[in-house]
Each structure stands twice: as structure tokens, then as C-alpha cells.
């Protein structure tokens, strides 16, 4: 029984570490997709955020500053994606592909330029990472330690998901962003500034993806490496589709995928099941969900379509 509780604690702990980056990126993706702009560049935005976060924290010694700057780096790529897709009417999937070249390319280029041709940043000191919530309160390894003593941001992220839900369904901006993703022409005739709404949403998605990436290097891994993000941006997109493009749904999906990743890290300790097989679960679940449940659900009607302002 004791072992069971301890393992459960470890599993919850691993889930709480794996979920926040996915959830941050997924919430960003929700904004972008619901406003009608496909953003498959999330992966690249997370990567640049992960790198920037690690570098700023390394030089400033301040984890929070690193976290913020990671978000800003993602935001910059978000701005590029927004200008190219909204103002210049580029194909959104192709623009996203370009972002996925630029994000990791820039991150590794700068990393090598700054750290003498090394593709990894130096490991961060524990004090320079993001703070944990109840450091020193619980005995190391106890259930409470595993469940409650996680990075403060992990809890903030769930709070933030609630805020996003509120913005989506209880505010004017939320109504506008959902409407703009369905029928931009109608919105324009009602005097809604379609471009402005979409700009805000895409740039916000860059910011959130950057924050998600920064969480990985500032909490989970404590350094930037080329393989630090691999696929998490795409998992976040999967979570958004799985969660039917709503913040609440995306949160549930991220928890599920975070749980998968928790099982993976536990299983890799025991070597019972191949971690590669477990890594496939989120993607296979998404495919099955698409085929059997979500397929009939509604994707934003104007998603991926170029909208040209009539003025």
C-alpha cells in the first residue's frame, strides 16, 4: 500500500511537471485557431522560448525574468506569423512551417554563437530556476512532497486556463474572437476589426507558446538542448483538436497527455514497456478521437482561410 501511494505520488508529480508547458502552448493555440489562423509554428515558438528562458536565467540568475523573456521570444515569432498570415495573406500552414525552421534554427544558432559552439546551454543552478511552492515543508519523497511541492508556475497555469475560459466565453473580446474565426465577413460588416482581433490572438499564442517552452528549460530540464522540445508543440496542437478548440477541453486533453508522459517517465525507470510505445499514445489517442468523436465536431469555419479586408 505504501509503495502504491508513493508511486501514485510520483505519477501525479510527473503529470504536474509534464502538463504546464503543453497547457500553456495549447491555450495559445486555442486563441489562434479560434480566431481563424492556423498556427502549426507552435513547436518553433516553444523552442525559441525554451532557449531564451534558459539563457536569460543563466546570465541574470533570475528564473522569473527568464520565464518572461522566453514568452517574449515566442511573441516575436508570433508577430512574424501574424504579419505574414493576416496582413500579407500567406498560406498559414506554409508560414507555420517556416516558423518551425526559424525557431529551432535561431535557438541553436544563437546558442552556438553565445556558448562557444556548444549546442547546449550550461546547466542552471537550482536557485536560478523557477521556485517550488512548498520547498522544505514536506519530507523529501513523501506523498505530500511529490504532489504539492511542484513548481509554482504549474499551479498558476491551471488558474490561467480558467482565466482563458472566462475570456473566451464571458467577455466581449472572447465573443469577437470566436465570431471572427467563423465568419470574418459578417464581423467586418458589424464593425469588428477582424485584423486587430486576429493579431491579438496570434501574438498571444506566440507569447504563451514561448512561456510553455521556457517552463521546460526553467523547471523540468534546467538547460537548453536541441531535443528539449521535440514534439511538445505538436502535442499541444493535438490537445486543442482533441479538446474541441476550447480552453477547458484543451486543459483536459493536456492533463491526459501529461499523464501519459508521467507514465512514460515511471515506466522508463522500470524498463517494463518501451518508452517509445508509450510516447505514441497521445498521437494515437488523438487520431482515434478524431475518427470516432471529434470528427463530427465543429472546427472554426474560417480556420486557415485568407481574409482580405474590404477597405
Amino acid at each position: 500500500m505504501e509503495i502504491f501511494i508513493q508511486n501514485l505520488g510520483l505519477l501525479i508529480n510527473a503529470t504536474l511537471i509534464a502538463t504546464p508547458p503543453l497547457l500553456l502552448a495549447a491555450l495559445g493555440s486555442c486563441f489562434s485557431e479560434r480566431s481563424g489562423v492556423v498556427n502549426i509554428g507552435i513547436e518553433g515558438m516553444m523552442t525559441i522560448g525554451a532557449f531564451t528562458g534558459a539563457v536569460v536565467a543563466y546570465f541574470s540568475g533570475n528564473g522569473w525574468l527568464g520565464f518572461l523573456c522566453g514568452g517574449l521570444a515566442g511573441l516575436v515569432l508570433g508577430v512574424i506569423h501574424a504579419v505574414v498570415c493576416i496582413q500579407l495573406h500567406a498560406d498559414q500552414t506554409i508560414a507555420g512551417t517556416a516558423i518551425n525552421f526559424l525557431g529551432p534554427g535561431l535557438a541553436l544558432f544563437l546558442c552556438k554563437a553565445i556558448f562557444n559552439n556548444s549546442s547546449e546551454t550550461p546547466a542552471l543552478d537550482g536557485a536560478h530556476k523557477l521556485p517550488k511552492l512548498f520547498d522544505g515543508v514536506f519530507k523529501a519523497g513523501s506523498f505530500g512532497y511529490n504532489v504539492l511541492n511542484v513548481y509554482a508556475v504549474a499551479y498558476l497555469v491551471f488558474l490561467f486556463a480558467a482565466v482563458c475560459w472566462f475570456v473566451f466565453y464571458k467577455t466581449r473580446f472572447g465573443t469577437h474572437l470566436r465570431a471572427v474565426g467563423e465568419h470574418p465577413e459578417a464581423c467586418e460588416s458589424l464593425g469588428i476589426n477582424v485584423y486587430l482581433v486576429r493579431y491579438s490572438c496570434v501574438i498571444l499564442s506566440g507569447l504563451l507558446a514561448g512561456l510553455g517552452g521556457a517552463f521546460v528549460t526553467l523547471a523540468t530540464v534546467s538547460q537548453f538542448r536541441p531535443t528539449v522540445i521535440v514534439g511538445q508543440g505538436f502535442i499541444a496542437i493535438a490537445a486543442v483538436i482533441f479538446g474541441k478548440f476550447s480552453p477547458g477541453g484543451a486543459m483536459k486533453a493536456c492533463l491526459l497527455f501529461g499523464f501519459c508522459s508521467g507514465i512514460k517517465s515511471l515506466a522508463s525507470m522500470s524498463n517494463a514497456v518501451s518508452p517509445n510505445l508509450i510516447s505514441m499514445i497521445p498521437y494515437i489517442v488523438t487520431i482515434l478521437a478524431l475518427v470516432f468523436f471529434v470528427g463530427k465536431a465543429h472546427t472554426p469555419a474560417a480556420n486557415g482561410k485568407v481574409f482580405v479586408r474590404s477597405r
Binding site: 506554409i94 544558432f109 493535438a238
Partner: protein
Amino acid sequence: MRGKKKGILESNVLYTVIALIVGFIIGAVFLAAAGISPAVAYGKLVDSVFGKPKYLLWTLIYASPVIFTGLSVAFSFRTGVFNIGAEGQFVIGALVATVIGILVDVPAFIHIPLCMAGAAAAGALWSFIVGLMKVKRGIHEVLSFIMFNWIAFYLSNYVVNLGGIRRESGGEASKDVLASARILFPESVRKGLDCSAANAGIFIAVIVAVVIWVIIEKTTLGYRLKAVGFNNDAAKFSGINSDASVLTALGISGALAGLGGAVQILGMGGRLSQYAGQEGFGFQGITVALIAGSNPIGCIFAGVFYGAMKYGGSKLTMVQAPTEVIDIIMGCVIIIIAISHVFKAILKRITAKKEA
């Protein structure tokens, strides 16, 4: 004269050249900002491609797989779908070619075609499933392709680590495929060329590119597929089965990417390594297809260009310049090609003013 001028302004080649120039300029800015002389870095890039005949050979070796993924994406563009899953189809093709190459022991004249056919079939299937989901359940292909890319990625890593496939020592990779499956030139030729990996991949790529060009431009099949891509409703109205066309197009596109995976393994690679991150052949194929303006013959040249960038880029570390500058350049090139209609409109306006 005026007609000719208009022709140039409307041709995509001009904008592709502009995109490449701008890409290189932005790359130079980053190099300079990092304290590396762009002249030295780009000089090294050119020298590593043209410096010796064997460098050119290496460029062609690097080019062969990306020509295939470029063809795959270009074919999908021409038929109105977007195969962002060439990455996964490439991985699955490489995996199947590796497994057949290791486990089946037959003479070369059977072994090579068997590996190729297996890889093409696997790539086609990987893409076909996505097509089925699109046709039967209305699921957007871009989304399912991305999922299938990662399933292929982890599946490959899983199989590479299985007993019987994994090599006993020397890193996280498969055993070497049998010599009978390799498409390398005979040893004496390779010695003569001073290039250990010289292989027939580029010839296969060129032949396939020509075949694809013929299919698209000269056959009723190509006409039908293009019609569906151009205007689905009109094609349906004129009696073309659009579902079957989408599935055929995706199947062929997937087979091309799968073949690319086989050429990579049977040619240069010789074995399959465990992936740490996506290798990017499929995404490079998107760039190749964009540079080529989705023309299969253009894919040969765009692929060779990309091969040169990959091979030359790998030598940049010798002058302390990060290889990733290539990714930055290519990212910019993609963006500029994606917004080339803006330049087109501006140039048209300027010439219209001049004429008026």
C-alpha cells in the same frame, strides 16, 4: 519586348530568386551579428560544394533523398492537398527498407527492388490512411499528417531497438543492411571517385522526377488529379470521382516520400539510427517543392540546391559558423515565397504606372 517583360514579372522564378537573395542577406545579418564574417562563412559554403569534384558528388548524395520528399510535396501541391506528412512517410519508408534490407537475404537484383517497393508501399499506406480519414470522416489532412509523423518517429525508434534489428555494439542504431540491398557504386568506382558513399540514388531520383512530370503533364490520370485539386466541385460536376482522386494523389505522394527513405538507407546511410529529433527530410521537401514552384523537374534542381546547402552547411563548423544559419536562411526563403504575391502586386503596380 513588352510581352517578354511581363512574362518575367509573372514567372515565379524571379520571385524565387528574390527570396533566395533576401534569405542569404538575412543569414548574413545574423552571421555578422554573431561576430562571424558572412564573406568567410559563405565562401566556405561555396568552397565546400564546388572546391573539389568529390564535393559535388557529396552534394548529389545529400540531394537524392530531398529530391524525393520535394517531389512528394510538389505532387501533393499540384493535386490540391498539402502533404506535410512526407516526414513520417520518409521515416516509415526508411524503416521498412532497413528491416527488409537486414532480414531478407536474396540476390541484389531482387533485394534492391524489394526494399524500394516495400518502402514505397509503406509510405503510400501511411499517407493513404490519412486520405481515408479525410474522405470518410472529413478530418483535415494537415492535422492527421502531423500525428502520423510522430507515430512514425516513435515506431521507428521502437523497431530499431528490437532484438534482431538493433546492432550489438556501436551506438543506438540498427544493424547494417546487407550488401545485396545497397545501391552503392562498385568499390573500385567509389575508390576512383574518392567518395565512400557514391551511389545510384541521384539517378533513381532523376528518373522518378521525369516519370512524375509525365504523369502530371501528359496523362489523363494527372489531368484528373489536377482538376480535383484545382476545383473540386467542378471536377465532381464533370463526373470525376473526387474521393478516389484524393486517395490516389495522397498514395502516390506518400510512395515518393517512402522511396526517399529507402534511397537514404540503401545509399548513404546503410543503417537506421535512433532519432533524437525529427530528421526534417519531409519539411525540407516542402522547401524544395516551394523553390521548385511545384514543378517535378524543378524539384531536381531545387533538391540539388538544398543538398548543396546541407552538405556545405555541415562544413560551416570549420570556420566556427553555426550550421543552423542554413535553417534561418531557409525559413526566410519559405516566408518570402509564401508572400511573393505581394511583391508581384507591387511590381505590377510600378510597371503599370511607368506605362501610363
